[in-house]
Symmetry: C2
Subunit: 349 residues, 2 copies
């Protein structure tokens, strides 16, 4: 499998992104939804920020007060007996989980797909009761002049997926939660199939079941049903812990080509691919027994949360897919791969 | 609050229910959906069974092989180091969860609401890939001659809610999963509100969020969206651990009256009630600061899993609600309460 990383990688880093407030710092710009708009390549990036005032001897969670629209700080000193810090992204205090940063969505555009202009202000900022811990990991699907953005919304009420639409990337309309907690990595197919919209989802159950990719259908994008399990983690393999859809499925002569992410028990996130039946995408035809792409560059191994390649989108030009991906939950990078190379790499189910 | 338990309680016990196979024993008949059909009161009971051959020194999980339609046994000896037994209902082996019984749905009918005739064979038996660990806790909503049954489906793929419809309680049609893992305690409202169907749901998230009651709406019963959180557990109270809808909401002059269940950290399950806005049921008007009903009778305290009152349905006659409930995950009991008494017991939000 020949994957060509951009020589210029990483192409966008936190220092390229002005914070939303002077007293904030950007700790990560990653996991960007990708589309084409007005002749340019557009990234809708997840930008994670935290207050500069955070001290070395405390944990701090920036949380939206959705009634005032202000971000408030929840702080716990490091020597508190009820504090637990599993990794750089979260901390646990008493029975509750907090995030160390709050994410919004920010636009970056490019004519060549490599050099991007980052907009100075957020495109979509946390606002509702369900977004008090942030907006994360958008995917963009263009259908008939409307851009459908699925977005992970995080709050103390849970992690769910909301739908946002836009036609101009200036005015964004929220349509509420389309997949209730806990469900993430939702990617909508780029056209109706036999009269229905389809989405890949990643339920996160508590009691029974593993972290696999599911599929659902909808007559109207707002209401979803007919949930089915597509693929589950495989013990002892690169995808032993979890899988989730990454890019908008690409229509090929052999089926829907989906580039997804997969992680093992060590939280090492790779990219993989599968092929779904063109008429019934709940049927998996083929998939990756080896990762398509795994962390190896320095910017993929070291960062806010290392050993992560996580894509939320790609562009397609004839036979070439350009995958944009968050590396180490910190920066954005790109890589090119031929569709035929991916198809040849897949193994029949 | 005056709750009158039936003098005849418990009204249905495992010995009243013939097993589905000669080599099975019924360990529980409980959590019954309730409706009226052909002039009688009908319970659609959850019947939990296990093989008689289970030995004292092993754990045994009966599991449907959905390809053959046969139930197979997964056994682990008690001295196995990877076995963990948290309670009588489940065991953990390696990283997986197993149930010690498998449930199907069984009809019982009555003219007086107290003396029931139990059908000799199952009405709905586990059949699909998503039902290999059983079918549980049905709720029945009658709308225009169709009975809509929401049902917890359990398998190694997760715990989800499926929709089944019937008009005669002989032919049942499965409509697939309407709420993907993990989501239980789904109850559909008995009429459309402003053109949409509504359901109460109980998402079970893993990472963030508590076990509260949510609401969703649907144009067609199959596809659901606009998920919102209604009520969450309250620390230090009888509902500190989890809440879930129990009965089909009852339309009153003051709003939709919902009888729900609530448990604390000790898994003590009580019944409570809330009142939802008649035009917008995502608005909670009032609810119970004290339980409506809590385990106190012997059959509620001792059983397959004790200290549980768990209802899946009720009948309404003018001003009287007759609540049918599973007691101690083992038997079915009944109790009567006046609607006005419940309304007077509720406190404004």
């Amino acid at each position: 499998m020949k994957i060509e990383r951009f020589e210029q990688n990483p192409i966008i880093t936190p220092k390229d992104v002005p914070p939303s407030r002077n007293d904030f710092e950007v700790v990560g710009t990653f996991n960007a939804g990708v589309t084409r708009f007005n002749g340019k390549i557009m990234l809708l990036m997840r930008v994670a920020e935290r207050p500069i005032e955070k001290k070395q001897d405390e944990e701090l969670a920036p949380i939206l007060n959705h009634q005032t629209g202000q971000i408030e700080y929840f702080k716990v000193p490091h020597n508190h007996p009820d504090l637990e810090i599993p990794d750089s992204r979260v901390f646990f205090y008493k029975k509750n989980t907090y995030l160390t940063s709050i994410s919004h969505l920010r636009i970056a555009t490019s004519s060549d797909g490599i050099n991007f202009n980052v907009e100075p202000v957020p495109a979509v900022f946390p606002q509702t009761r369900y977004e008090t811990f942030g907006l994360e990991d958008p995917r963009i699907t263009l259908i008939e002049n409307t851009y459908y953005i699925t977005c992970k919304v995080v709050s103390d009420l849970g992690i769910a997926t909301s739908l946002i639409t836009t036609s101009d990337f200036k005015n964004f309309k929220r349509h509420g939660i389309i997949f209730c907690p806990e469900n993430i990595d939702v990617v909508i197919f780029p056209e109706k199939i036999n009269g229905l919209f389809y989405a890949l989802t990643r339920p996160v159950p508590r009691s029974l079941g593993s972290l696999g990719i599911w599929i659902a259908s909808s007559p109207d994008m707002i209401n979803w049903g007919r949930h089915k399990c597509l693929m589950s983690p495989r013990a002892g393999m690169y995808d032993s812990a979890r899988l989730g859809a990454s890019c908008v499925p690409i229509k090929t002569a052999r089926g829907w080509l989906e580039i997804y992410h997969a992680a093992d028990e060590n939280n090492r996130y790779c990219l993989a691919a599968c092929l779904l039946d063109i008429e019934d995408p709940s049927k998996v035809i083929a998939y990756s027994n080896e990762p398509l792409m795994q962390p190896q560059a320095d910017y993929e191994i070291n960062g806010f949360f290392g050993n992560v390649i996580f894509s939320c989108g790609a562009t397609v030009d004839d036979e070439i897919i350009t995958i944009y991906y968050g590396a180490a939950d910190c920066v954005i990078a790109g890589a090119k791969v031929k569709i035929t190379d991916i198809l040849n790499h897949l193994e029949k189910v």
